[in-house]
Symmetry: C2
Subunit: 460 residues, 2 copies
Amino acid sequence: MISGLLMKEFTSLLGRENVFTDKADLVTYSYDAAVLDRVVPAAILRPSNYELVGKIVGLCNENSVPVTVRGAGTNLSGGTIPSANGVVLVTNALNNILEINEEDMYAVVQPGVVTAKLAAAVESKGLFYPPDPGSQAVSTIGGNVAENAGGLRGLKYGVTKDYVMGLKFFDACGNEVKTGSRTVKCVTGYNLTGLMVGSEGTLGIIYEVILKLIPLPLHRKSMIAVFNDTAMASGTVAAIIANRIVPATLEFMDNFTIRAVEKHSRAGLPLDAAALLLIEVDGHPAQVDEDAEKVESICRKNGATSLHVAQTASERDKIWAARRSALSALAQLKPTLVLEDATVPRSKIPEMVRAIENIGKRYNLAVGTFGHAGDGNLHPTILTDRRDTVEWKRVEDAIKEIFEKALALGGTLSGEHGIGLAKLRFLKDEIGAGAVLFSKNIKSALDPKNILNPGKVIGE
Amino acid sequence: MISGLLMKEFTSLLGRENVFTDKADLVTYSYDAAVLDRVVPAAILRPSNYELVGKIVGLCNENSVPVTVRGAGTNLSGGTIPSANGVVLVTNALNNILEINEEDMYAVVQPGVVTAKLAAAVESKGLFYPPDPGSQAVSTIGGNVAENAGGLRGLKYGVTKDYVMGLKFFDACGNEVKTGSRTVKCVTGYNLTGLMVGSEGTLGIIYEVILKLIPLPLHRKSMIAVFNDTAMASGTVAAIIANRIVPATLEFMDNFTIRAVEKHSRAGLPLDAAALLLIEVDGHPAQVDEDAEKVESICRKNGATSLHVAQTASERDKIWAARRSALSALAQLKPTLVLEDATVPRSKIPEMVRAIENIGKRYNLAVGTFGHAGDGNLHPTILTDRRDTVEWKRVEDAIKEIFEKALALGGTLSGEHGIGLAKLRFLKDEIGAGAVLFSKNIKSALDPKNILNPGKVIGE
């Protein structure tokens, strides 16, 4: 429980307008995009500058009150589900782009900056911030860093961690910690930046991020390849990579997903296709033309029945908007949507797609599969109703089998969604007892009272 | 002191031929490439498989004996200087490339694999491992990972940490820890890979490394631009980057270094040039031609008196061999060479070059400056004789001023050499008390007996 005294301290610190304790508010912050039980926190705190963040953390530590930081709450693994009796620290008032340095190609931002807003701001200066999680229109940079978010451009451009040059954060006691630099190279001290990225708010509370930017690619070409057979589509993914072509984006969508997306967004996708690949190549115009030609020829050789290259920017945008709508489109079909992100080495994509189809059939579940096939990161998405306890048991078993298959293929439990609470029980299967112990030692040394987003990533 | 009993255990474990205790052997391992006092260890151990590494670490922990891992000992910050009464664990018998996966573009190697050997092996398959520290002909991957080594290609391709997908290592107790994956994306558990890279052997002992590979660029073009004025050369570096061109390599060399290199390697460098830029652009042929043209025009606009493009592969190799010989060439001039790597945001390179010239003159020291100007990472190199205590005092003061200037320009103490022992006293000036405390908490939690390369990176 939070004492009345502590609540008063929060209120005098932040002002009454930035402390929320009404039931309706608390319930709003009791869940995220993962299918997990709600946990209603004790209070919502909305600091408007970083000094206040530090003071909140200090007070929480003194009083042993758990703190869960929340950006937009788009988390798919339960990382933003708070603790009962804990506080939620929302970052939406810390939403300033502090600097875009064109000469040295970096940006400095507060954690609450929306990803797409930053991307647009740097693009207007001819620069490029590549990480583009599916939720970029609402997700925040702080959340992206805490989860090491991926996105559609992972195979060519990498993920969030590849763009974080430095951080400022508060440790569990509220001390300021600075790591990394505005320089391209920096090996001064431990790579705390690397450790913090993806630590899901369990090791410190980030209040400033330095992000690497790169020149905007000169040219882009997007295309859709249509397949009558999912195996041919997935085989094409592996063939493109094996031919040493690295598209900016290489997405897979099965028939189930195509139908849902088309119903939702009327993008003109072929309803009878077994699978689509959505591909974008970018870079120097000559390179783009050559890569596009090679990709086209590999697609045809591997059984694509038709291939369409977007002729205008608006047509291109339409393709990607359709792809980005996949999650919302699927979510409308049934009360509960479980989005997974088991990831395999890219050459194993055909086998993984086959396995997911097979598991879906065997457990008699509605599964739509789409995702970043080009980096081995598929999103098998199960549509269900969690209140149907009989089916839910089958869902859980199916997920377990999907994970086991991914690990058997040399893959990982999570490509980009994080472990959060949702995948905790599988963690040891992948990383082993040694890594779990090592991680717990780090956690308990850095957060001895276990106030920072307790229970996430490595459990209690 | 290592007890006779423990020595016996080492010998029965490794065989007499892999345990060295003769004075001549011990002295050989008492120093590295940094200018620091020698520390003679108690024994040298040479395990030939990873299980033996784990057993050595376990025994050292039980007996509270410090372990310093050593690859090729090219370390420039004292990271491989052992502890008195400690052991040196040499990795040169752990030198197998375990896998080069062409389909999924990664390699799995043991820590003792020589960097250039791996680079050649993957290149023969049309793949590319970009990190190329100056010492790549002898340096090992394990050392590169432990130091997060940089090199000439940092500005376009990043540094070692950008290529480490996963690690296996032993913690201080000898437990096996596995982190990362063979997949492009992986967010399962803490990013221990990120933490371990650059931790200089103080948090665990690495025995296997998964490295990302990329397709080999199709085409390369190398050129030399000659300047009568160092300010014009350094201004050109900033101008190239500000024009959104990212060469593969963009190196600076001042007249002092040019003369030393030419004397050493007879590459035909212009002895009267105030400074040279050595530039390589790579990628698609059309992109390369365009970038080369733009670079040429920027060089001329910024005062280059002549510009020479290498016409053949052997001519290109000659340019880079000359550049790579800079360190050895300078080392022949005086008994002691101090190579620094203060790094600044790239737009500050002109100011940093000016400051280094000024500091060299003011302290009346022989300074050659060269390095990876394109990523802001200069190597001001002081030639001196450490036995000359009067001059040595001036050297120390000059280094301090160089660091202060780099930090004042928003830079860092070390771009790629690490903190080791050499820069410890400046660490707090850059990262602050909060980051030092946070780091020490990690270290003491993970290595409670302080046996893993004690004293390095964050001090005692």
